[in-house]
């Protein structure tokens, strides 16, 4: 398998109960590239994204068929086959949601949270990783003096940057973004777009968006999810 | 990855749930096991329908069943208009500040210990009934009145919740068509809340059936079945509390377990009825 590929999707379908949400999708996603996935609403873009970090594995009515191979380090892993525990997978394949969802805690506690889950307790290491991630997300300068304040008091754009920073703190190899700017105002959208493009050097990005102009602005590769599956445009 | 921890946690949680649920069957089981001697010794039918006269060897609990029904039904009947009116005021007729105060008041009432109602009832209400209306004072009426106040918070809160959870869009539609507060309440909210209200009535009735202290302290504890409001009565619950001091091996003593069985069945029937009503309401129309 080529080292330039990061994710390979082969004949993947998704059924929720009796409904077929995704049908026979094939695609390859390249390393350190930002691939934008677009298409009409309700076609299953978010569903597809969720298959990469195993979000459907515990849902009783969901059935995934086909093959997905993700290259982590130099191993190829299939998230559908539960080859590694989901918590471990999700440290390498992180996700951002449409609605920014900071936990009801301080900014600092939010940022340290993934490290706590992973068992990293050393205060110095935590501090260093948190600072680096926040700088990568264009957030450090703005909030470095109010880390103890509630994360819920931030503006929409700041919250989303916090969520991105929080996702980056464990240095994931893939970042899945599900409509990351849909709930933000115009100014914040621009900042986030710039941020996402800047992250290409650190990881591989998959961005779902139904805004065609955004998709063309930021995507190195653009794919559309329609009835016939995923195709490059 | 600490998989072992995950599995242990899941099982601990599951076993807790099972343990709690098993209690229910254990309770019933003990009742039956300890009540059996009474079933074996006496005439099965006589136990449910005969009179209570241990000196003559009669262990019928019918007087107690009758007493329980008289008092509980009276309490529910008295409580109904009280709760209906109060819930109407809280949901529609009162000003927001008043409603908040009333709501807090009702919730405060749920915390008043039963024994205190009984205590005040003995020294305040019993003489009033005796002198003002007649009879011995400690009777079905007195117990029923105090019990009605006791169970009213349950009914009021249930009524209020049901009325308030009626789909807002219906109420707004009525408002737009010119209905005033009273009309919105009576013609839109109440009809759609009947299910929840029925459940509330049954729930309150269940509580009334199961109450011990009020009947014990205020109803007189006579051993005949009552035939009028001013007669004293004994409920199944009071009977259990009174007979407990009897000799353990006697059949008189065993009767308390039979009472327990009846109460258990009454309560279960009420609970199941409420669940069925509420489940039907959840089906969207």
């Amino acid at each position: 398998m080529e080292t330039k590929n990061k994710i390979i999707v082969d004949g993947v379908s998704f059924h929720y109960g009796p409904n077929r949400v995704i049908d026979n999708v094939n695609a390859t996603f390249k390393t350190h590239a930002l691939t934008a996935i677009t298409g009409p609403s309700g076609q299953g873009k978010s569903t597809l994204l969720g298959m990469f970090n195993g979000m459907w594995n515990d849902t009783p009515n969901a059935r995934c068929t086909g093959e997905i191979q993700i290259r982590l380090g130099d191993r190829w892993i299939s998230p559908l086959k539960k080859e590694i525990p989901m918590p471990l997978l999700r440290r390498k394949v992180a996700m951002i949601f449409q609605e920014p969802n900071p936990l009801p805690m301080s900014i600092a506690k939010n940022m340290a949270f993934p490290l706590k889950l992973a068992g990293i307790r050393d205060k110095n290491i935590v501090k260093e990783k948190v600072q680096r991630a926040m700088k990568q997300s264009f957030l450090w300068e703005e909030v470095k003096d109010r880390l103890e304040e509630s994360a819920l008091n931030l503006s929409g754009g700041q919250k989303q940057r916090l969520c991105i920073a929080r996702a980056l703190v464990l240095e994931p190899e893939i970042l899945l973004c599900d409509e990351p700017t849909s709930s933000l105002d115009a100014k914040a959208v621009g900042v986030i777009e710039e941020l996402l493009v800047s992250l290409k050097s650190n990881c591989t990005l998959l961005v779902v968006s139904h805004y065609m102009d955004q998709v063309r602005r930021i995507g190195d590769q653009v794919m559309a999810l329609e009835d016939q599956g995923l195709k490059r445009i | 990855m600490n998989n072992a921890k995950e599995i242990i946690a899941k099982n601990v949680f599951f076993l807790s749930a099972v343990a709690s649920a098993v209690m229910i069957l254990a309770i019933f089981g003990f009742m039956i096991a300890l009540g059996i001697p009474l079933f074996k010794a006496g005439n099965f039918l006589a136990i449910w329908t005969g009179p209570w006269a241990p000196h003559e060897g009669l262990y019928g609990i019918w007087p107690m069943i009758s007493g329980t029904l008289w008092i509980a039904l009276l309490a529910t009947a008295l409580c109904l208009p009280l709760s209906l009116g109060t819930s109407f005021v809280i949901t529609s007729l009162g000003s927001p500040r008043l409603c908040k105060m009333l709501g807090t008041l009702v919730r405060f009432m749920t915390g008043i210990p039963t024994v205190i109602y009984g205590f005040v009832g003995i020294f305040l209400l019993v003489p009033l009934v005796r002198e003002g209306i007649g009879g011995p004072g400690m009777c079905v009426l007195t117990a029923g009145m105090v019990l009605a106040i006791l169970i009213s918070p349950t009914m009021i809160l249930f009524f209020t919740n049901s009325l308030l959870s009626v789909d807002v869009s219906y109420v707004q539609a009525a408002k737009a068509l010119g209905a005033n507060r009273v009309q919105r309440l009576l013609y839109v909210m109440v009809p759609r809340a009947t299910g929840g209200m029925a459940a509330g009535i049954i729930l309150a009735l269940g509580r009334a059936l199961g109450d011990t202290l009020i009947a014990l302290m205020l109803a007189g504890n006579a051993i005949q079945a009552p035939h009028a409001l001013l007669e004293p009565a004994r409920t199944l619950t009071a009977h259990i509390a009174l007979v407990k001091a009897a000799d353990f091996d006697s059949l008189e003593f065993r009767s308390i377990f039979v009472c327990g069985i009846v109460l258990y069945l009454f309560a279960t029937a009420a609970t199941v009825a409420v669940r069925l009503i509420l489940r039907k309401r959840e089906v969207p129309t």
Binding site: N53, P114 | K10, S20, I24, T86, I149, A267
Partner: protein, 293 residues
Amino acid sequence: MQELMEKLAVFLSWTMTLVLCLCLFIFLSYLLIKGLPSLGAELIFGKAEPLRVLLGHDRVFDGIFPAMIGTFFLVILSAMLALPVGVCSGIYLAEYANPGMKKLFGGLFDILAGIPSIVIGLFGFSLSIFLHNHFSDRFGPCLLISSLSLAVLVIPYIVRSTQMSLEELPSNIRRTALALGATRLQNIAYVLIPNALSGISSGLFLAIGRCAEDTAVILLTGVVAMAGVPSSLLSQYEALPFYIYYISSQYSNPAELSNGYGACLVLLGICAVLFMFAYGLKKHLSYRMLYRV
């Protein structure tokens, strides 16, 4: 005609509300008038000296101190027994159970919640008989049995409040930690429970209040009129609600009756405080746990 009916409905509603408030007012004022005069050290400690009693040198024979201690121990023990089992069961139902199980357990817990307290007391009593006959003569109605029975009585409250507060958490809070690499247990422990703490603690305080005021259960499982401060888990004990009941039928002079009213006020005060905690402490607890860094 219709307008008349509507006006009648309004009139009756207000009247009924007034009747209810009046009854409550009369009830409380009567209690206060009769009970306030007797509030004081003598009510609690009787003729003994408070300091000596608290240090354990003296026994109280005509005050409510032993009853208060009894109620206190009862409540603590029952809570210790009911809380872990109740919270774990609630977690199971909210996070692990499939819909069929949820319905089944939900129904069982509803039934348990509806069982009259005296039947629960009867159960405790039968348990003590069983233990007495099969294990040791030392077993009988006692503090331990009462606490167990009260725990059974209040477990449904705790299970229901835990389950409901977990289920009411918005779905994005649920997904957040999972997407960051949390295991199910970590999600429950670090995110879900802290956010549901208000509901859970509210349920706990309601349960405690229920234990403090209950009379029927303890009537059958070990409470007596004269026992002093309980010396062990297997001993009999006094309790406030039972004291009140006992006085109502067995008082021999006006002073004792006055003590009864005083005890009513004390019990009412305790339950009112617990009730206020149940509704007030909610938000405070969650806030403090989550904002400390």
